[in-house]
Symmetry: C2
Subunit: 432 residues, 2 copies
């Protein structure tokens, strides 16, 4: 990222200074550790590294915190003491996502040969049916704290709906930017909440570049772009997946977790969440392995992992797993580091294997996943077969979205038989 | 219903007798009170009236019950002591639906002129994104109790997906019957779980008649049809909507509830649930009004209500609210009775008003409802305008399904503008 873009983007700070975002104390550079006050900035002014939230968790007693969490709301706000949000966040109008089912998947486990306990963390039950509601909910609180009146983002689908819905509930304006030629279903889902939905003549990369330009312009002055100038806050939402998984397992860290990789942010924040729970004494400090899952048609991180590289070489995406189709993932190097440090791996599957895995998960557990869920289940199968994943250990697989959003992937699915309304016809079809 | 159909249908009883379905003690005829043992039967052998569950709630202490519920799982199974299910139901593989958000809808209230508190009970977060998961979950337990190995139903969409998913999770076979010419999206959603999906050359009524025939045939001997021979159990699932609403309001009955009407079963069971909570002492005994909502294109109950009739004259449905399109609703007379007894009403809205209401709910609260949700919100607006609904009282409106399933209803929704990726183009479009 160019110096000018960082500076102009960081300049947009209507109310930076003393804000109440709970335990969030400052922003800290992931690369050089340089600290700056909380504000709508995302890149370090010293080294251009990514900024992330630094917390003040001093004074939190593990036993008391656990009781407080367990008696909290059935949403991510049960973890408000660990998130960059004010203590009264649950009383404000927002979508209250999270606390989604951790499905014990015994029938899937039998098919995959997993004996140590297999669970699917199913995020399709979130308000707009993807994990994006978790991250947008954090960005919304930051937007309120900084006095932004418009919520915005660049998106290829799931995020657009999540931002539109969250802004509608909160009574903020929304203006969402998408490539102009998206599928009609995604356009309707993003537009129905009544905000501005702007099609950009260009690719998703063009949309992203335009948003960075807009942040530095007076027109974007009081705009909170959830995945740009509010990114440090936004990204923290993924920690809640780690919190919920551990609490739902009885305050225990699973041995193995399989996470999809788009930008890689989700995987790095799940690791951060697990480390926080351990350091706070909420769970036992025991080893865990994190596995990353990509589609073969967009597998820059898997390719780097397999080649033993530290650097991720960008790819041009070509896969049905469009919500994971980021060819140049910002957090790729961090993902490689985490997979290697924890003893995990990064693997990829073909589009055909993705579709097979969607059907397998639906058939065995009644969970209809979007293509990203097909990627994680397909990769889990492949990792068991290769021996990289130990079938005797407790394993959690993420499904981050809903099959209703990617119906085309299984469009070949249809009627078993067509019959006349008679028992004769029923028997003739071999169904009796 | 003909005598022969009732008898042959009731004959299919593989394991009737001593079954453990928790507090369910017997089946009782809604018309004549005749009692029979629990079994897969649905029509009274004396008068052909509908059978429903008779409970033994003796020994339940209100304070203890409330504590037990509040410390229970975040699903309908927190109410297991009040449902026809075994006590260990939550440990069995099922979809664990329910405990969906009760959304405080202040922005919608402002638009409708409701001042006494307006809430949307949003059932789109259920596992297959409609309230049908609640009723199928009860039928599944009955199917297990009676030893059925195949779960079946007649459906036009939502129910087919709910049955397919529930059977998959439980490891039962499913065989679902639908009209052969349904929308492709609904077919995919019903087929993806891997059960048999049979298209019937005919209307939904033909599908229903065929299912009744199949129950009396040896081919359907060990089949549990959730909405036919398991209907008394199935229907009880709707009580959980009443339980959750009251608990989420702090164990208080709302003054007014607006419920969609298809067969009318849901509305009658919500009334039953409220009366149970009152008689058990879980909530204060205070008056409440229940309002029914229909689409003008299928408004047999609203028409009877307005005309002052006790009998519902069947209609041929023609509306975009397909999940409510039952022209001859079985529980229509009971709905009329409840609306009149509680001081409520039954109202209907046009397809145009349904679409407007879907957009209104999305724009004000970030909830994307299916057409049935447009019906209840649209009817609420109409009832406030007519004075039938008191805007100064606490009001709960049901959204029973998800907008992603009826995208066509708002297909006109789209991009606000299409621009080139430049600030000049952005300003020229008047967005700055």
């Amino acid at each position: 990222m160019a110096v000018q873009t960082v500076e102009s983007a960081n300049a947009s700070t209507p109310a930076a200074g003393s804000v109440d975002l709970g335990p969030a104390a400052a922003l800290s550079c992931r690369e050089c550790g340089h600290r700056v006050p909380l504000g709508p900035v995302f890149a370090c002014e010293e080294c251009f590294g990514p900024l992330e939230i630094a917390y003040d968790f001093a004074g939190l007693d593990a036993g008391e915190l656990r009781r407080r969490i367990e008696s909290g709301p059935a949403s991510i706000w049960r973890y408000a003491p660990l998130l960059p949000v004010p203590a009264d966040v649950a009383d404000k109008p927002n979508l209250n996502p999270g606390w989604t089912p951790l499905v014990r998947a015994d029938r899937l486990a039998a098919e995959l040969g997993v004996t140590g306990g297999l669970f699917v963390k199913d995020d399709s039950g979130n308000p707009t049916h993807s994990f994006k509601d978790r991250v947008v909910a954090q960005a919304l609180e930051a937007a309120r704290a900084f006095g932004f009146t418009t919520l915005s983002c660049s998106s290829t689908g799931n995020l657009a709906g999540a931002v539109g819905a969250a802004a509608a509930r909160a009574g903020l304006r929304s203006c969402v930017f998408i490539p102009h030629d998206l599928e009609q279903g995604k356009v309707v889902m993003a537009a129905v909440y009544g905000g501005d939905l702007v099609g950009i003549e260009g690719t998703y990369d063009d949309v992203n570049r335009f948003c960075s330009e807009l942040i530095g312009d007076p027109a974007g002055e009081d705009w909170g772009f959830v995945n740009v100038n509010l990114r440090p806050y936004y990204a923290e939402g993924s920690k809640t997946l780690a919190y919920e998984i551990c609490e739902q397992l009885g305050w225990r860290v699973p041995d193995q977790i399989v996470v999809p990789i788009a930008s890689g942010s989700q995987l790095t924040k799940i690791d951060k969440g697990l480390r926080e729970l351990i350091s706070l004494g909420l769970v036992e400090d025991r080893p865990y392995k994190i596995f990353g899952a990509q589609a073969e048609g967009c597998s820059p991180v898997a390719a780097a992992f397999k080649a033993g590289h530290d650097v991720v070489r960008p790819q041009k995406p070509d896969t049905i797993a469009k919500s994971l189709a980021i060819g140049n993932p910002a957090d790729g190097p961090y993902v490689l580091d985490i997979a290697r440090r924890t003893g995990g791996a990064v693997e990829d599957v073909t589009d055909e294997q993705i579709v097979d895995a969607i059907r397998l998960l639906a058939r065995t557990e009644g969970v209809f996943a979007e293509t990203a869920g097909g990627v994680t289940v397909g990769v889990t199968r492949k990792l068991v077969e290769s021996g990289a994943l130990d079938p005797a250990l407790t394993t959690v697989v993420l499904n981050t979205g809903d099959g209703l959003k990617t119906l085309d992937a299984v469009a070949g699915t249809g009627l078993t038989a067509t019959i006349r309304p008679s028992l004769e016809s029923f028997r003739a079809a071999g169904l009796g």
